[in-house]
């Protein structure tokens, strides 16, 4: 098993952090994992993204031209990565930040009102965790509960108060299932 996941959005939306939560969870479950931030030419254009590769074997490339899944937190990310996803892969979009849906029929598209959900549960900044919950709830890359355990284990002491909101966000995101 190997999956390449790109998480992309504006700086400040928590794309890099969402990738790290996934990477910590994968590490704790004994998987090989790489996390690499947007770096070099990809950095231009005001977006922040990271690529996470989760695998049962030694990982070759830490980046992918045709990722298995993309979390797009804004329109430029949707425009850029939608055409690149592997057929059969997953596109998870923060519906509240874009003005269109996907035209691709060979991938699973999940439009999630992540910002609205995050506000409902008390913190707009948890939209990244909602979308990560949708990703894991559909792809099942890791054993049940791995992301929640990673949040418990790796959140810095001064941020521990956000763990419960983040766990709630993961659960709400996982309710969105591909057709």
């Amino acid at each position: 098993m190997q999956a390449e996941i790109i998480i992309s959005g504006f700086g400040g939306q928590g794309t890099l952090y969402a990738g790290q939560v996934l990477a910590y969870a994968a590490m704790d479950e004994g998987k090989h994992v790489t996390w690499i931030p947007s770096y070099g030419p990809e950095m231009r254009g005001g977006t922040a993204n990271c690529t996470v590769v989760v695998s049962d074997d030694e990982i070759g490339s830490p980046t992918a031209l045709h990722p298995t899944a993309v979390i797009a937190m804004n329109l430029p990310s949707l425009d850029k990565y939608e055409p690149m996803i592997k057929p059969g892969g997953y596109l998870i979009v923060n519906e509240d930040m874009v003005n269109r849906t996907s035209t691709r029929e060979d991938i699973h598209v999940l439009m999630v009102p992540a910002s609205k959900i995050a506000m409902e549960i008390g913190n707009e900044r948890a939209a990244n965790m909602v979308l990560l919950g949708t990703l894991e709830g559909n792809m099942h890359l890791l054993p049940q509960g791995a992301l929640e355990r990673a949040l418990e284990a790796h959140t810095a002491a001064r941020l521990k108060k956000f763990i419960s909101i983040n766990i709630e966000a993961l659960r709400r995101g996982a309710e969105y299932q591909a057709d």
Binding site: W35, I36, Y39, G40, S61, A64, L65
Partner: protein, 374 residues
């Protein structure tokens, strides 16, 4: 032991301290800065020396001074800074001083950019400083390998009284992977006999690279060349993948090596018998394995994030027995596995011409792909 998820730059810093680094001298430059930043916090905590020098010239000459006392000394920088250090590296080599330097290579030439590159190969492997000397050059392809090689680098440097260069690129520096960090080694408290201030030294200790008398200088160079033969015997490192039945072999190190692994696996899935050699020691170079493969495979593809600097070494080893082709990206661009897959197809389905001008063929293709900006 528990795994930690950390960036390559921080992993190297932490591994160096655990290996007994007691004196670090550096000057900030991206994409290496986290390494220096981490040490600026951690070294004082342990009562060890962290000095931000006034420049890279200052840093490398402070390393020279610290190394003369037999202390474990290190500096780190990125390409333009490593260029500035070349004089100091030659002086360290000419004085037989052990030290570790880290080069997190970035796109160039000139000020270039902060993106990952492998364009410093020639500078560090074939010597950017004056005179004749060798650095031992180690090129990790993962964060764990960066930790393991950093740990080893200080021992190797002291064993041969030579400078060890860890050659990383921005990908390895910025990437997070799970690593197991080693335990802290005890710090050496007594300097070795050759060092200034050693209780074991016999009489006055003079450490210098000046040999005003040419026969004396020649004898020194013979001694160092002889020592280098020992290094070549003992310190060659590489990792081979799928070599047993390989008909064609890809050669790449560091980030280019691990990206090539993805392309080689994809080729295997299509039934192509492709292998991979990932050199870990670039100096001494794993020439023997390439030489032996050249007698039994149908061709090689060299992959680098440069204009083919290791390529020249491979061409020299293979000596036109089989074709050697090349794929590279330059200036901070990193190839995707798909590009390497295309180059593998071109090699397998190509003309198998041993006289091919690999660099010219590759450049024509890249010029077509990206243009010249004119």
């Amino acid at each position: 032991m528990a795994l930690e998820l950390i960036k390559g730059n921080i992993a190297v810093a932490e591994a160096a301290m655990r290996a007994g680094l007691v004196s670090y001298f550096g000057y900030p430059i991206t994409p290496q800065t986290e390494l220096l930043e981490h040490l600026s916090a951690r070294m004082p905590e342990l009562g060890r020396a962290f000095v931000q020098a006034e420049s890279e010239l200052g840093a490398i000459n402070m390393v020279y001074g610290a190394a003369c006392t037999g202390l474990r000394a290190m500096t780190s920088s990125s390409s333009p800074g490593i260029s500035l250090m070349q004089e100091g590296l030659s002086y360290l080599a000419g004085t037989e001083l052990p030290a570790v330097i880290v080069d997190v290579v970035r796109g160039g030439p000139g000020l270039g950019n902060i993106a990952p590159s492998q364009a410093d190969y020639t500078q560090v492997v074939h010597g950017g400083g004056h005179g004749e000397y060798h650095l031992i050059v180690l090129a990790p392809a993962s964060v764990q390998e960066a930790v393991d090689l950093t740990t080893m680098a200080f021992d190797i440097a002291e064993k041969y009284r030579m400078v060890v260069c860890l050659l990383l690129d921005g990908f390895i520096g910025q990437m997070m992977e799970p690593v197991e960090l080693p335990e802290f080694k005890p710090v050496r408290t007594t300097p070795p006999a050759w060092a200034i201030g050693s209780p074991d030294s016999k009489g006055q200790v003079v450490l210098t690279s000046i040999n005003i008398d040419p026969p004396t200088q020649e004898r020194f160079n013979v001694k160092m060349m002889t020592r280098w033969q020992e290094v070549e015997k003992n310190e060659v490192r590489y990792k081979g993948y799928f070599l047993d039945d390989a008909e064609y072999v890809v050669i790449g190190y560091g980030t280019a090596g691990r990206i090539s692994l993805s392309a080689v696996r994809a080729a295997r899935e299509q039934g192509l018998k492709i292998g991979l050699v990932r050199p870990i020691s670039l100096s001494p170079f794993p020439a023997k394995v390439v030489d032996e493969l050249a007698d039994r495979v149908k061709g090689f593809l060299v992959v680098e994030m440069s204009n083919g600097q290791m390529l020249d070494d491979i061409i020299s080893i293979v000596a036109r027995r089989v074709p050697v082709e090349f794929y590279g990206r330059m200036g901070g661009m990193v190839p995707y596995p798909d590009e390497i897959s295309n180059a593998i197809s071109a090699l397998v389905n190509g003309k198998h011409d041993v006289n091919i001008d690999a660099r010219a063929e590759w450049l024509a293709g890249l010029r077509e792909l990206v243009g010249t900006g004119e």
